[in-house]
Structure formats: structure tokens, C-alpha cells
Amino acid sequence: MAWRSGIAFRVVLVSTRNSTSAAFAERLLRPALADTGIEAWSLRVTSAGLEDEQGASFNTDAEFMLRSLGGNPGGFRSRVLDHEIVDDADLILTMTRGERDAVIAAYPRARRRTFTLIEYIRLNDLVQPIAPLREHPLMLASARPQVEVTEDDDIVGPTELGPQAYNEMATTVADAVYQLAEAWIAMAPSRGPHRDPLGAARLLDAGADAEVVRLSAFGVAVDVQCTGDGGRALSRELNQAWSRCLRLEEEPAQVAVEALVHDDETLLRVARARGAIGANTVAHVMHALASAITVRAIDERAGEVIMLHAAGVALPDGRVVAFVAPSGTGKTTLSRTVGKMYGYVSDETVVISLDGSVTAYPKPLSVITGARPHKEQFGPDAEGLLAAPLELRLARVVLLNREPDHQGEPVLEPVDLLEGIAELAAQVSYLPRLAEPLRSLARSIESTGGLQRVTYAEAAELADLVPLLAAGAT
């Protein structure tokens, strides 16, 4: 399986008979992605069945239903899932648990990229990964035990239930694929370097009050073009929340992002269809921008540096401790707490060069408050986080293990290098694109004295451990 930025993320939808629910999902997901501005080249959607239907097409009822939901039934011919399709897929989504289990049994190597459609959506809601889309399946697979899917979550094809079930199946699929497309905004592959920085400027008419916020995301020059009725408010908010990532130099942007805040749903839809981040509130756009900026910067630096999904804090002399954890398991809380005592490096991505130097990414803290359906962005200045020194160097990589019921002091333990890297790998962006990926990662970790795991209950308890970890005196 190829593993590069700038190439399509390939999704295969699977049902027992291709021409039923999987084909429906395929033909509804495509327009849903187009509506959210995800370009067809960057995300390829196909479908397949577990049983051979001899190239069946949609029946008349199915065609009618698809068209009524905005799907195009034209040109569909069923196909059977095989090794070639499986090996070519980045993500396999089945309609039922039984189909998922059948795929995994027949193709064990696909186990960590095979989910039911509803299971994947639930996992995504839980984890809310901020990473390139092709890394999501591995990240979500490790969280699979936290999500329960039952018989009620199976999307059963209409032939099993009779003609009346077309409506129910179609409505369920349409709702699910819309959620999927929404979740994938800003995560899809970019075209790679030099994304036509001027492109965003000509997207809205010249009279629009566009303001450009110039940012640096771990060395990647990013221009955010704030447009729409709420453009000024968005620009103001960005300047505050992203204050430590503002770019002062006049260098040209490597990545341009158009962000639109507007009440007009039609205008938003048009803007999103051309790739803009658009919503009717500043908070919603700020949330999507955090993902877009991070993911596009990661795309730009793929293969150059080690990018850990980690929280990082620095001692005054520049030594950095990176705390690695999957999304939603404690990184931001740690940054918010420990970053008041040590320099705040990042709550999301710790970027390590092969010589051990670290590039800070002091983005806003992305926090699930429960008050909104998405993460809220809190600037490090407003949170009172300390600034990190300019010169940073990796001193330790730590696997975070938060157990709310853990009693007593945090427990530190060394982790076997191979076992640790096996666990860590899903939290490294574009690992396969590094030269000698495993050996490069191992060299970086071994140069700091090896991996540690810390088990703890409250983030504040970790503060005293930072100097100890940085010194390698464990």
C-alpha cells in the first residue's frame, strides 16, 4: 500500500451483496464529500460485495430512492471483494458486524482498517483525531474496545427485509455518510507542497473584507484568509488564539486556507464545495481550522521529521519531554496544567528532527468542553502557559497512561523498545515516509535513554516528574 501525501485516500464500502447497502452508501458518500469540498481525486470511494452477483446493477426502486437523496446510480456494476481490492484500500467500511467479521476473517491483514460504518463514526466522534485522514483507521482501531456496536447499529440491505425497508435503509445510510463527510473536512490529503497560495484570495469576490492571518505551523508557512460577515471577528480570534504561531517574516505561504464565517447556508455550501472551511460561527470555524492547519502542515513535512501525536513541555534549558497519547486521552489536559510550570511546546504534535532538535507548535489548546459539539480553542497566552525557549531538544519520550482510578503517586516504568515502538507507531504521522522509519525512530528514542510509561490519575501530578524525565534519572 502506497503511503504518501498528495495521493488519494481509498475507501471501500462492503455489504453482503454489493448492489444493496454498500452501493447505496458509495453513491451517497460521493456527493456528500463533494458538498463538503473534499475533492474527488483526494478521496476515492468504491464498493464491493462478499457474494458474487454477476455484475448486478441497481433495481428501479433503488435508483428512484438514490436519485431522491441526491445520489447518482449511473454506471454501477457490482463486484466481489478480493485481495486486490482489500490491499488497495486504506479503509474498509461494512454495513453490518457480520460483514466486518467476515472481511477480517478472510483478510486478516485488513483487521485494523476494517470497521462497520456506524462503528467508525462513533469512534471518530470519541477520538476526534487531528491527523491526516490515512492515519485515522489505525488510531481508531486502537480505541475500538471503547465503543460498543450492537445489532441495532447494523445497516441491513433491503432485500433481507423486503421493499418497505428501502426507505429506512436509505435514510440511515444517507445520515451516516453525511456525518462521515462532515468529520473528514480538513483531513483529506492535500496536493502536496505549494498549494497555490493566491488561490484562496480569488475565491471570494474582490469586494469581500478578507483579512489574512499569517501563521507558522512547525516551520510551514500557512496563510489563513478570513472572509464573510464574520471574517474580521475570525481574524481577531485567530490572532489571539494562535498568537505564538504568528509568522512575522514576509516569506510566501506554502499552504493557504480560506475560512468563511457567514449566516447564509447557500454561500457556505458553495464555499465549502470549493475547499473553504465554512460555518456560521467563529467557534466552529476555529475548530475546523485547528485541524486543517495541523493536517496540512503535517502533509508538508512528511518524510522530513518525526511528528509525534504528543504533548510537549520544555525546561528552561530547552530540554523537551514529549508525552505521547492517542487523541482524547489526556494530552491537552496535561498541556493546560503542566504548561503553567514549564514551557508549552504543543498539545498535539511534537516535531523532532533527526538530529534531535524540536520545533515548537504552540497552537491553541483544543478542548472538549461539552458546551459545544466540537472542540473549543483556547490560546496559550489566555491560559497562562509559559513560553518555551527558542532552542529545543528532545530529552525523553513518555507513553501516557491515564487511569482515573489510579491511587497514589504516578508510576514510572521503562518500556521495552520494540514493544514501545509497536505501541507508539500509530501516534507517529507519516512514519513510513521517513528514511529507515523504524530505525530512525529507534535512534531518536534511544538517544534520550529509552521509552518510559507513566500511569497517573491527575495531570498536575506529573509536573514534578518533568525534570526527572528530562534528566533520564528514572
Binding site: L418, A425, P432, L438
Partner: protein, 94 residues
């Protein structure tokens, strides 16, 4: 069906070896192999037949447990590694 004269070749994208264990990268997946799997990956870089591999594993690990034959056990191990993309098996007739 894997035959005795089929050739097993390691197909990983990268490998890290420490203390007789091997960590491999296959596509986007990182896998820590068992001791037997690690040995297969190490010795099959240049290709070995199932028979040759069985002889090697017998020399390193001794007789398989539970009275299984060396060649049956070798085929089982190779089959598992092939399923996850760690080795490629070429038929002797190809």
C-alpha cells in the same frame, strides 16, 4: 496450500532487531513478531524453501510442541506471516 518446495521471501518495508525479536513495518502497520516469526523474517531475506526453513527452525528451536511435525508447523507459521504481509510465498512451479 503451501508446498515444501515453495520459496519464502521476507517482504517488509523496514525492520528493527533487538535481542532476537524483530519489529517490522508493512505498509502503514508496525508489528512485533514472535520469536519464531522473527527468526523467519531474519533468515528469509534472501529466500528459503519451506523445507530449508523447517530445517533451520528445528535447529534453532528444537521439535515443535504437541507432537506437530516441523514442516506442518513451518507451513502454519509461514501462512500466518503471509496473511499479514510479512512474507511472500512463491510456488516452486511459478
Amino acid at each position: 496450500m503451501i508446498a515444501d518446495h515453495d520459496v519464502v521471501v521476507t517482504t517488509v518495508d523496514d525492520a528493527l532487531i533487538r535481542n532476537d525479536r524483530v519489529l517490522v513495518l508493512v505498509g502503514s502497520e508496525v508489528m512485533l513478531l514472535s520469536l519464531v516469526g522473527s527468526e523467519v523474517v531474519r533468515v528469509c531475506a534472501g529466500g528459503l524453501t519451506i523445507t530449508e526453513l523447517g530445517v533451520h527452525l528445528l535447529a534453532v528451536f528444537g521439535e515443535p510442541p504437541n507432537g506437530a511435525s516441523v514442516h506442518d508447523q513451518t507451513r502454519t507459521v509461514v501462512g500466518s506471516l503471509r496473511e499479514v504481509g510479512v512474507v511472500h510465498v512463491t510456488s516452486a512451479t511459478e
